[in-house]
Symmetry: C2
Subunit: 387 residues, 2 copies
Amino acid sequence: MTNLPNDARRALMLLSELVEPGDAELDDLLDEAEPIEAVKRIWEGDVPDRLRRLTGAAVSCTPDPADRAEQIAAVTEACGARVLAPGDPDWPGQLNDLHLVCDADEPHVRPPRCLWVRGRHDLAELCATSVSIVGSRAASEYGQHLADDLAADLTAAGWTIVSGGALGIDRAAHLGSLARGGATVAVLACGVELPYPKANHSMFNLIAEQGMLLSEWPPGSSAMKHRFLTRNRVIAALTAGTVVVEAADRSGARNTARYAAELGRVLMFTPGPVTSSQSIGVHRLAREPWEARLVTSAEEVVEDLTGIGGPLATPPPAQRRPIDRLTEIEARLVESLPRGYVVETARLAAVAGLPTEVAAETLERLQRMRWVDRIDNRWRLARGSQP
Amino acid sequence: MTNLPNDARRALMLLSELVEPGDAELDDLLDEAEPIEAVKRIWEGDVPDRLRRLTGAAVSCTPDPADRAEQIAAVTEACGARVLAPGDPDWPGQLNDLHLVCDADEPHVRPPRCLWVRGRHDLAELCATSVSIVGSRAASEYGQHLADDLAADLTAAGWTIVSGGALGIDRAAHLGSLARGGATVAVLACGVELPYPKANHSMFNLIAEQGMLLSEWPPGSSAMKHRFLTRNRVIAALTAGTVVVEAADRSGARNTARYAAELGRVLMFTPGPVTSSQSIGVHRLAREPWEARLVTSAEEVVEDLTGIGGPLATPPPAQRRPIDRLTEIEARLVESLPRGYVVETARLAAVAGLPTEVAAETLERLQRMRWVDRIDNRWRLARGSQP
């Protein structure tokens, strides 16, 4: 008898290693069966022919799926990552919009099965007010300057910058956000433990610390060409809008743009000289039936995302700093915890001016949100939290 | 008794000197009275108060309006110009669309009363397939390069390039068209005999020879700021569409763009770096409710003007060379006339293989269209005609 994973999350992790995201047959199977049951059927060969052939080799050399799932969980924990699944409170519900646009031509355009994340934030909250900035890897100085500026100004205005962690425009956007203290999100096409490309290694470390790294693939997965395209749909779906800063004629950024448009997200582009090869792709966006909007500043991006004109001083729809996302009581507790100290619940409650039981309950919630760490009955600020 | 001009055209010429284009009261007067009668009423003070005050000084120092009209006609002829009036076969009917958009806020947005023209073409035919290219005087190298290229390619595709004869983008557009043998049209804000600015003097000479110079003001009129704005409506109305190549934040080109949009013409712009002050105005066009279209090539301009995609090889809606605009019989006669020779009607009819009476009748039409000159009963190709 097959030794099955002991929880649904582990089963999803195992399935993510086994079958690429967006596989229609596996997703159909998951629609009718719980993840553990799906693992059971795959290991017993009780699935459609194609899915059996697809999984056959892996199944035959993995006699104990429970053990393999444990290994993945252990590696995940070892690299400081965790796994989010649909239904989790911090699962970004907007990803489910992908259900609306996938069709027979593009079966892989489906919501992710689960996500590996590194970073201390609540992904759903972080992406509730987010915009993606994507573009060419072979970006010009002009394009990089522009992406950096846009990202910095949008971060200052309270928007989370999502991008793909690539060289060029992606890198400039992440760095522009990081420089303003932003919790930028990099959606990867490989495992979160050693993101590709290596040239962005130190940037990825900063993002893991200050923002979030995100992937549909378990640690150890390599970046592959088709994975970049699959990944792009997540960038488009996570955010309220996508700004394409530079794109050559055949650029992956145009692929993200198309998903954004199909998902009803706001599609924007920054113009450039018509003589620049890196602007050909963005100018083409303006002439396609996607109603891509020309933007030249963060102000115009916000205007298009919110329908509200005027200077950036206009309050953005979301809060400006991570702590602004907390309730008043949560924020009071976080602010009462001096960095580097470990404080008992009763003492902390007294400093924050709260009943002990309210403080205790709230601190447990803050622990789940990774704002604080618990050491016996005492609390300290989690590493990387920014009160 | 007032000595009145002896024809309506001369009366219009006199009125154009007397009152700026678009004067609502004068236009109302011309709606109810023939031009000669309008001159009579003005000279007799039988007009609304404002119009009487406006014309009073000029009237009192011009005791003989007929004589003054003759002087204007003489100056017009001396500088090789002629005057077109509404109803003439070569009056571009699309100018009358201005009636549709003028309102109380902008009474000056009315069709011109008459036009001084220099150049041997039929203005209506020339502008039946025309597009305007306008933009900044302080254009960048990039913008000028782009305007020159667009104009050259559009000319090669059979389109007449209309612009304002200014330095910068206008100049680049005219020169790009002239270099491809195009009959480009410069719409001026001063008299056609000595167009402003002087720096474009040799270009204006080329245009008078190969294309057309156009003005609502009689010879001797100076370029004034308000005349440029008034003139812009003619550029917009003459053409099927307007391409704004570069425009600073407060540019006259944006004024032309607005007229084009209000007239239902196709409004286009070429993008540039968002960091260039000369692109601020064009990028703003993209975000206004005018549905300005981003274009990066002559091919895209033609696509937007005709609704037909594909390479420029696609036949444009109009003919490609001046002679293509002639009927088969007209063209046969023009092509039978060797340049530099003067040929009798009967001889020419024989060479062209036409009955003499058909040839005679057709040659008279060609004379009116300024393709041929008559010398007694003999004919020669008009100077500048291009069979």
